[in-house]
C-alpha cells in the first residue's frame, strides 16, 4: 500500500520515526513534516500570496530503508494540500496518517488541533485518513514508549484503508501510552466529549510595564452552556483502551436546519 505520514513536529521526531519504521516494513511510505512548531494551527492556510517553501530530503532513512521525505515551512493544511495536490498527485496514497501527535484531541479540541486540521484537509480530497494521538509529554516521547501505538496502526492499516466509511469522514484515534502491546485492553468506538480544554491566559507585565498574555489550556468549567453529554470514551481510555471516533467535516446542524426551514416556509 502507498501510505503518506504527516507530522507537525519535525522529520527527526520519535513520533514520526517509530510509525514510519513500523509501516515501512510492509508498505511503501512517504513522510512529510513541518519545520518547527505547528501546535494548534487548525485548518489554517498561508493566504498571503507568497509561495510555500519545501524541501525534499534525499538521504532520509529509517532502520536502513530509504524513505521519500519532505519538509515544509507553512501550515499543516498547506503541507497536506501540496502533498496531495501536487507531489503525490499521480500516485495518490491509499491512506494518510497524521501523527503520531504528541497530545490528544478531545471534544471541541478538534477544531484547533493541527493534527485534525491535516486529517480534515486529506478528507476533503476523499483520501481515507487517520489522525492518531497519544497523551502529551513535554519535550516529546521516547521511541520505545510509542512502539505499541505504532504496532497497533501497522497491524490494522489495511482494515483502516478498506473500511467503508462515508466520504466526509475521517478517524480520530486516541491511543493510551502503555509499556508493551499486551497492556492494551481493547479497542472502543466512542466520542470523547467529556474532557475539553479551554484557552485561558496568564497575565504578566514586561520591563516597561506593558501587560502580555501567555495562553494556557485549562479544563473546561462544567457550568458552561455548551456542555455536551459525557461519553464513556474517557473512562475506557484510562483503562488502556484505544478509542476510535469517526468525525465528519460537515458540521451543519441538520436538526436546527430543518426547524429553520419550517419557520421560513411559514
Amino acid at each position: 500500500m502507498n501510505i503518506l505520514i504527516a507530522n507537525v513536529r519535525n522529520l527527526e521526531s520519535a513520533e514520526l520515526k517509530v510509525l514510519a519504521g513500523e509501516l515501512s516494513k510492509k508498505h511503501s511510505v512517504t513522510v512529510c513534516s513541518l519545520e518547527g512548531s505547528g501546535r494548534q494551527k487548525g485548518n489554517a492556510f498561508s493566504y498571503s500570496g507568497f509561495p510555500i517553501k519545501f524541501k525534499q530530503i534525499s538521504n532520509y532513512t529509517i532502520n536502513g530503508t530509504r524513505i521519500p521525505a519532505y519538509k515544509f515551512q507553512g501550515t499543516p493544511a498547506d503541507m497536506i494540500s501540496i502533498m496531495l495536490g501536487n507531489i503525490m498527485r499521480h500516485r495518490k496514497p491509499n491512506i494518510v496518517i497524521c501523527g503520531i501527535s504528541n497530545g490528544i484531541s478531545l471534544g471541541t479540541d478538534v477544531f484547533c488541533s493541527s493534527n485534525i486540521g491535516m486529517a480534515m484537509q486529506a478528507a476533503f480530497s476523499n483520501v481515507p485518513c487517520l489522525a492518531v494521538g497519544v497523551p502529551m509529554q513535554l519535550g516529546g516521547h521516547k521511541e520505545a514508549d510509542l512502539l505499541p501505538a505504532a504496532q497497533f496502526i501497522a497491524k490494522n492499516i489495511e482494515k483502516f484503508a478498506k473500511a467503508k466509511l462515508p466520504t466526509d469522514t475521517f478517524l480520530n484515534i486516541t491511543i493510551p501510552l502503555v509499556k508493551k502491546y499486551e497492556d492494551f485492553q481493547g479497542v472502543g468506538i466512542s466520542s470523547m466529549d467529556n474532557l475539553t480544554k479551554m484557552t485561558r491566559y496568564l497575565e504578566k507585565v514586561d520591563c516597561k510595564g506593558n501587560p502580555y498574555y501567555w495562553a494556557q489550556l485549562v479544563e473546561r468549567e462544567s457550568s458552561s452552556k455548551t456542555e455536551v453529554a459525557p461519553t464513556a470514551g474517557m473512562a475506557y481510555f484510562k483503562q488502556n483502551y484505544i478509542i476510535m471516533a469517526p468525525l465528519t467535516y460537515n458540521c451543519t446542524d441538520m436538526a436546527s436546519l430543518e426547524q429553520m426551514r419550517k419557520e421560513v416556509a411559514k
Binding site: R39, N43, I52, A77, V187, T196, N250
Partner: protein, 256 residues
C-alpha cells in the same frame, strides 16, 4: 445587548467599523480584533510560540477598540478571559468581504472566531458578504442595515450548542433568506513548483484556493442559494461525531 465584534481582516477594516458604527446606536459594542490581516488563519491559536499583546485605541466615540497581535480565535479567547469587563451576550465575527461557504469554512478566521466563542459558551455568529470593493465603508451599508434591523431574528436562529454562519450575496433582497446546509465538493488545490536562484523549492498556488466543482452546485446547499441571490443561514454544531459511520467502523473489524 453587549456585543463583541471581531474579524480576520484587522481591527480597522471597513467591514467591522461600519458594523460597529451602526450597532453602537442601540447596543454596547466592543471590537477586539487582530492588529494585522489574518486571512485564512482558521482556528489557529497562538499557544507555545510567543505571548500575546493587546492595545486599546480611541478612534470611534462609543466603541472601545482593542487590537491583539494574534489570530481571530486568540482575540475571542483573550477578550473573554482578560480584556472585557463583563461577558458579552453575543459575539459577531465579520463582516468578512469574502463569502465563507462550503467546506472552506474551516479555513476562515471569521467562522472559527465564532466557533471559539461558542466553545467558550457565548452565542456567536459569523457574517460574510461578497463585497466587490472591500476597502470602502459604504460598500457594506446594505449588509449592515440588514444586520441591525434583523439582529434579534438572527440571534434567535443560533442553535443551542452551536453557531450561525450567515452569508450575503453581492446583490440581495432582505426578504430572500434561505437556511442552507454546507456544500461538499472542494477541489484539490493545484500548485506549480519553482526552484529559486538559491536552489530552494517553492510551491505556488496555480488555481485560486478553495474552489468547488460544478456538481457542488447540484447539492442545493449554501453555494447554490448564494448564487441564486439568497442570504443563507447555516447552523453549525460543535460535535463532529458521525453517527452513520459507527456501524461501518464496527464492520471493519479493527482489533488488537
Amino acid at each position: 445587548m453587549k456585543i463583541l465584534l471581531t474579524n480576520e481582516a484587522g481591527c480597522f477594516h471597513p467591514g467591522i467599523v461600519a458594523l460597529a458604527k451602526e450597532l453602537c446606536k442601540d447596543h454596547r459594542v466592543c471590537i477586539v480584533a487582530p492588529l494585522n490581516r489574518q486571512v485564512g488563519s482558521g482556528h489557529s491559536l497562538t499557544v507555545d510560540q510567543r505571548p500575546l499583546h493587546a492595545q486599546q485605541w480611541y478612534v470611534l466615540d462609543n466603541v472601545k477598540i482593542w487590537s491583539v497581535d494574534g489570530t481571530p480565535c486568540d482575540c475571542v479567547a483573550l477578550a473573554l478571559d482578560k480584556l472585557l469587563l463583563d461577558k458579552p451576550d453575543l459575539i459577531i465575527a465579520g463582516i468578512d468581504p469574502v463569502n465563507n461557504r462550503g467546506n472552506m469554512v474551516y479555513t476562515s478566521g471569521v467562522v472559527s472566531a465564532a466557533m471559539e466563542g461558542t466553545i467558550q459558551g457565548i452565542k456567536s455568529m459569523a457574517l460574510s458578504a461578497a463585497i466587490p470593493n472591500e476597502k470602502k465603508e459604504r460598500a457594506y451599508r446594505p449588509v449592515v442595515k440588514f444586520v441591525s434591523r434583523k439582529l434579534e431574528y438572527l440571534a434567535k436562529q443560533i442553535p443551542d450548542y452551536g453557531m450561525l454562519n450567515v452569508n450575503f450575496p453581492e446583490k440581495f433582497k432582505p426578504k430572500n433568506i434561505m437556511p442552507a446546509a454546507l456544500t461538499d465538493g472542494l477541489l484539490d488545490n493545484e500548485y506549480e513548483i519553482e526552484v529559486n536562484p538559491f536552489g530552494s523549492t517553492f510551491a505556488w498556488l496555480k488555481s485560486p484556493l478553495m474552489e468547488f466543482g460544478l456538481e457542488a452546485y447540484e447539492q442545493k446547499g449554501d453555494l447554490y442559494w448564494l448564487k441564486q441571490g439568497y442570504i443563507t443561514l447555516t447552523p453549525f454544531k460543535l460535535d463532529l461525531l458521525k453517527g452513520e459511520a459507527l456501524t461501518a467502523l464496527q464492520k471493519a473489524g479493527i482489533k488488537l
